[in-house]
């Protein structure tokens, strides 16, 4: 049996000054799921999250969050949601502890002192409790923000680029924690630009220009992209890339480290285009397309359709 839907939106829209920033985006997220939300900058992710927790009112469409109407029951939703803003939004001139205490008070957390103590401990911040929030490094700021989001024991976490500007070790720890929380029944909607993070999500949605382009598990998204991809390694890749782009059925050529990913949606034609250039100087190999290959292809297609 499926877990209940925590986010259930058929499609909501938001316009700013005549420009549609979120265009009828749907979303269904189940309890205990970690849901990845991806898309280029300015594609409307933050705006969508803000509509979910009542910070913005949708111009069109409606939906439910934790079983509550996002238009009319925002106040109730706010009590059960932990929203981590994209930009650090705590008081830089308060200490860690004071910030947590303030948030706990606002949520009316019972046994506040204990709750603050617990979240300081859980995040390993007890030693830094008296440090001003403004003087923390990116990783610590992110930990503070996360523990502040958790202090009122919410049902749903909305995390807006929580790992931007955070070092890899802190990122790994962060994701481990998210998985632990999810295992205990918490639901998380996380926006990110990192592919490795996207792959750690149970399911994900990819949007661009305010529209949903793909959603599902990583496997489903990749399969739906319908892409076949070849990887090339060897000398003079930039020149080769130039040459490959001109070939029929080659839709994208993307540099990945010391290799190129050459993709197209028509597998047979792609293969016949590439055959003549597969010289022994380079190593060619047909691979499973990655998320990134698929997203780039989706973006290009979207650009042609919408712009």
């Amino acid at each position: 049996m499926d877990s209940p839907l925590v986010i259930d939106v058929e499609g909501i829209s938001k316009r700013f000054g005549g420009r549609t920033v979120v265009d009828n985006i749907p979303m269904q997220v189940r309890r205990g799921e970690i849901y990845g939300f991806l898309g280029p900058n300015g594609s409307g992710k933050t705006t969508f999250l803000r509509m979910l927790c009542g910070l913005l009112i949708p111009d069109g469409g409606s939906g439910r969050c934790l079983g509550l109407d996002i238009r009319t029951e925002a106040a109730k939703i706010k009590k059960q949601v932990g929203y981590m803003t994209q930009r650090f939004s705590f008081y830089e001139d308060l200490t860690l502890e004071e910030n947590l205490d303030f948030i706990a008070r606002i949520y009316g957390v019972s046994r506040r002192k204990e709750a603050v103590e617990k979240s300081l401990e859980r995040l390993g911040m007890t030693a830094r409790r008296r440090q001003m929030a403004g003087s923390l490094s990116g990783g610590w700021k992110q930990r503070l923000a996360l523990s502040a989001c958790l202090i009122h024991e919410p049902q749903l976490l909305l995390l807006d680029e929580p790992t931007a500007g955070v070092d890899p070790k802190a990122r790994r720890e962060f994701w481990e924690q998210i998985h632990q929380l999810a295992a205990s029944g918490l639901t998380a909607l996380v926006t990110t630009h990192y592919m490795d993070e996207a792959e750690r999500c149970h399911r994900l949605a990819y949007i661009a220009y305010g529209r949903l382009l793909a959603r599902g598990t990583v496997g489903e998204v990749v399969a739906a992209g319908g892409l076949s991809t070849w990887q090339v390694a060897g000398p003079d890749l930039p020149a080769l890339a130039e040459h490959l782009r001109a070939l029929p059925a080659v839709e994208q050529v993307v540099a990945f480290g010391a290799t190129l990913h050459v993709s197209g949606r028509d597998a047979a034609r792609l293969r016949s285009s590439l055959m003549p250039v597969m010289t022994p100087g380079h190593r060619w190999e047909e691979i499973e397309p990655g998320l990134e290959d698929v997203f780039i292809s989706l973006m290009d297609a979207a650009k042609d359709n919408f712009v």
Binding site: R50, C53, G54, L55, L56, I57, A75, K78, K79, V81, Y83, T85, R87, F88, S89, F90, Y91, E92, I103, I106, Y107, G108
Partner: protein
């Protein structure tokens, strides 16, 4: 570098408008509204002697352009009330036996009572009436009465400058300073308070919590009320021990009314902070409000010296009324009944600002 500054200046429309607007306002206020030789001061005439002489006197006062006779009280008590309320600046009292004594050559007294809280408001008028005494009755003193013509003058002018008999400017300025300081700091601090939350991004976090807008605003206001009271205490102490201002009225009454005035100013600040996009704009708006308050309230220049349009604007500003309240209580010893007429305009202003602030306050980021 310079061209980048100009581009940014042009982008920030409000700042740009303020940079042009503030000097313009200063120009207009200093150029047109301020007049240090106030005329047409409201005057009450209480004439217990109905004679040709008293009528000539009244006529001469009217003609002097310094006195506008607006009231004709029926007894001494009414005169005192009018002066206390500030509804008249002067009261001329012609005693019962004025004409009889005058005819007998006994040099009767003509009593001029002045509300001298602001010495600069009454100085010119008093010298004008002084020069009147010599010649005013010449027209009536003809024929056999010719012998009464000066010199010496046919009657003596006695001036009673009430409330500040020694014309000490500090007595007027120092209590007024209380209002000026409160206006300046209260508006500025609250205008910044909410704008700062928005600028630092903490507003988004606040709005995502279940906190009620009323709590946010109250939370912003309450600490500053306390700050306001600290200022009031400091000024009261300085008034008493540093400047030796005579404190005639009830300090507890003043302290309780200060709350109304502080609230009005905090409401202005909150209203500004819902409009301002950044802290700079908030500061500019506060200044925009402070400037006319300072110049048109009667603090720097006598209120009645200003043209009518400037007085109208002044009447809207809470500082104008608060100055009358503070000076009324401290210098005149006024009670609630005399100052009530200056309380409701402050309350009305505060209500208006709160309403605007609530209307503009957004619970969302829209």
């Amino acid at each position: 570098m310079v061209s980048k500054e100009f581009i940014q200046m042009r982008r920030d429309r409000v700042t740009f408008a303020m940079m042009i607007g503030i000097p313009m306002i200063q120009l207009i206020l200093f150029g047109f509204a301020i007049n240090s030789d106030p005329k047409h001061l409201p005057t009450a005439v209480y004439s217990a002697d109905n004679s040709v002489f008293s009528r000539t006197l009244v006529w001469a006062l009217r003609n002097s352009s310094y006195f506008d006779i607006v009231r004709e009280p029926r007894n001494e008590g009414e005169i005192q009330r009018m002066l206390a309320q500030g509804s008249v600046q002067f009261a001329v009292h012609i005693p019962v036996d004025f004409s009889r004594k005058l005819l007998r050559g006994e040099q009767p007294e003509l009593l001029l009572e002045a509300d001298a809280t602001d010495p600069s408001a009454v100085g010119f008028a008093i010298s004008a009436i002084n020069s009147l005494t010599q010649s005013v009755l010449n027209r009536d003193l003809t024929g056999p009465l010719n012998r009464l013509r000066p010199s010496p003058a046919p009657f003596r002018l006695v001036t009673h400058p009430h409330y500040n008999p020694e014309n000490i400017t500090q007595y007027n300025i120092v209590p007024g300073l209380m209002g000026v300081m409160l206006t300046m700091t209260m508006v500025m601090i609250t205008a910044l308070a909410i704008t700062r939350e928005r600028e630092r991004g903490t507003m988004e976090n606040l709005l995502s919590t279940p906190v009620h807008p009323g709590e946010v605003i109250l939370g912003k206001i309450v600490p500053y009320i306390a700050v306001g009271y600290v200022q009031v205490f400091l000024i009261l102490l300085a008034s008493k021990y540093l400047f030796h201002v005579p404190i005639v009225g009830s300090v507890p009454l003043l302290l309780s009314l200060v709350l109304l005035f502080i609230t009005a100013n905090l409401a202005v600040g909150i209203m500004f902070s819902t409009v301002a996009k950044n802290q700079l704009q908030a500061v500019q708006m506060a200044f925009f409000f402070f400037l006319p308050s300072l110049l048109l309230s009667g603090y720097m220049f006598p209120f009645r010296g200003m043209p009518l349009w400037a007085q109208r604007i002044g009447e809207v500003l809470p500082l104008t009324h608060f100055l009358r309240v503070v000076r009324g209580i401290l210098l005149k010893g006024n009670g609630l009944s005399e100052i009530a007429r200056d309380l409701w305009p402050i309350a009305l202003f505060a209500l208006g600002m709160v309403a605007l602030g609530i209307k503009r306050y957004r619970q969302t980021l829209d």
